[in-house]
């Protein structure tokens, strides 16, 4: 019989092979250090490989249940997490919150507690309120994985973007990154700024001025403040990586921007892309609106990484689920001491 305290030595797992970080939840990129991010990306690699196998299903998380609680409409991310869970052999418990009791007035806390009472091993959550994942994590014992909270963060998107960049360019350090779009309301932009600045990337933000406020300059983790630029031509000059954000046509409390204006001033066209470094990567968190924020030729061109982003999204999410629920959950440091 394997005893938890001795099993690491029994099974010849050396101290350096034990996960060095405690991740109880993944709520945001901001609290993570560069080496923790590197570790997460490294852990995603085996899962990239598994997706090339003829048989993609593992039994690793067999018997585990992943609670998927999306309180905001999303098809792609939900499918990505569901597939990640089932390819690891886990079951997914789906909360269709768009049509759920929330609309009957049940509070978020009660909804999540009801889900928790069915004993999932973790909850993957998307919600339209910033801080919602943090709120739920404070009230539940099980790990919470933030799949997007309001305009705050979307950590798995930043991780899969980083994995895509690292695979294509070899490393994450010191690149010139340009992000185009409605930055103010973008959780993807925030997570990307936090992550890439931790690797010394120089970040340029570009978009209509009311969507690129001055306070964004303070989000950078490295010495250089984030640069804000209103002309997309200037923003693309010298860029190694271009991240194009989607335009949300419906914004509460905002006067709407004429879309033709946006296309004229900010659409990423092949001509504008030539202003960036040759071979610069083009990323988009999806879903894309071809002909709006991105020209179809760019979306389908050789510099576009959108399909790899999707594949890498699956790998990153599998790695995170494995990390959060793939073991007994005993204190890692206690295990270390026993060796």
């Amino acid at each position: 019989m394997i005893h938890p305290e001795t099993s690491a030595a029994e099974l010849r797992i050396a101290p350096e092979e034990i996960v060095p970080f405690r991740f109880n939840d993944l709520l945001a990129i901001e609290p993570l250090h560069a080496d923790e991010i590197t570790f997460l990306l490294d852990q995603a690699k085996p899962f990239q490989e598994i997706q090339r196998h003829p048989l993609k299903k593992l039994a690793t998380l067999r018997g585990k249940t992943v609670g998927i609680a999306f309180f905001e409409a999303s098809t792609r991310t939900r499918i990505s997490f569901t597939t990640a869970a089932s390819r690891l052999g886990a079951d997914a418990m789906q909360l269709q919150a768009e049509a759920s009791s929330l609309q009957k007035g049940e509070s978020l806390l009660d909804t999540v507690r009801t889900l928790d009472a069915m004993k999932p091993d973790c909850i993957v959550m998307r919600h339209s309120s910033s801080g919602a994942a943090d709120f739920v994590a404070r009230h539940l014992e099980i790990p919470v994985l933030n799949a997007g909270d309001g305009t705050h963060e979307h950590p798995t998107q930043a991780l899969l973007d980083a994995l895509t960049i690292r695979d294509r360019l070899g490393h994450l350090d010191g690149w010139n990154v340009t992000i185009i779009g409605d930055i103010l309301h973008s959780r993807v932009a925030r997570s990307n700024i936090h992550l890439l600045s931790r690797f010394g990337c120089r970040i340029t933000l570009c978009g209509p001025p009311m969507w690129v406020p001055q306070e964004l300059e303070h989000l950078s983790a490295c010495g250089e403040p984030v640069r804000r630029v209103t002309r997309v031509e200037e923003a693309l000059d010298g860029a190694d990586i271009v991240i194009v954000l989607r335009v949300q046509q419906e914004r509460l409390h905002e006067p709407k921007l004429p879309l033709d204006e946006y296309v004229m001033r900010y659409q990423l066209t092949p001509e504008r892309l030539t202003l960036a470094r040759p071979g610069a990567l083009v990323l988009h968190p999806g879903p894309m609106i071809r002909g709006l924020e991105i020209d179809p030729a760019v979306a389908d061109g050789p510099q576009s990484c959108v399909l790899e982003q999707v594949t890498n999204g699956l790998a990153v999410r599998m790695a995170l689920l494995f990390l959060l629920i793939g073991h007994a959950g005993e204190d890692v440091s206690a295990a270390k001491e026993s060796i």
């Binding site: 852990q43 490989e49 890692v332």
Partner: protein, 182 residues
């Protein structure tokens, strides 16, 4: 929990001689090396597999491909392991379909590691045959798994652990019998 060293079971020379002998056995009992491939089970199965391949090249002039397999995702005991293992990648740069595979590991004990390894292999394709090669067989099987090629068989008790230390991983070269002390 602490461990205390009891005896040395094999020295560096003995390990080397054993691997040479095993390499010969594999060549003899495979009816041809055309479809042979070695798969080292991480961690220490990997340098062992590489050394066996080298030895086979010296014997037969044949280049047997070597792959590495990380079994973490295939373990059945993850829920019981307090320490969470870091995932490594598996690297098998050839198709396993139709291959005559030799799984290589340092110690055969309960057999669960090998069962996990086989699960991993069969996710990749359909090998013609899978046989097991281990440096040490220490008994105490919990599953119906046997090795076709064995370096040495050693009787052990439950309190004992066999530590195979290899230059590539441990910066020393010998096989130790250690004991768990409460």
């Amino acid at each position: 929990m602490r461990v205390v060293e009891k005896t040395q079971l094999m020295s560096a020379t003995e390990i080397d001689r054993t691997l040479q002998r095993v390499a010969h056995e594999i060549v003899e009992r495979s009816g041809g090396t055309a479809h042979l491939a070695l798969i080292g089970v991480r961690r220490r199965g990997v340098p062992l597999a590489q050394r066996i391949a080298l030895a086979m090249r010296a014997i037969d002039g044949v280049d047997v491909p070597v792959g590495t397999l990380d079994i973490t995702l295939y373990r059945d005991d993850l829920s019981m392991v307090a320490a969470q293992p870091v995932l490594q990648s598996s690297e098998i740069p050839f198709s396993v379909d139709g291959k005559d595979l030799i799984l290589v590991d340092d110690v055969l004990y309960t057999g669960r590691t090998i069962r996990a390894a086989m699960n991993g292999l069969f996710d990749l394709g359909r090998p013609r045959r899978v046989r097991l090669c281990v440096l040490i067989d220490r008994g105490h099987r919990e599953l119906p798994i046997e090795a076709a090629f064995i370096g040495r068989t050693v009787q052990t008790s439950d309190m004992e652990i066999i530590e195979v230390r290899l230059q590539e991983v441990d910066q020393e070269e010998r096989v130790m019998l250690v004991e768990r002390v409460p």
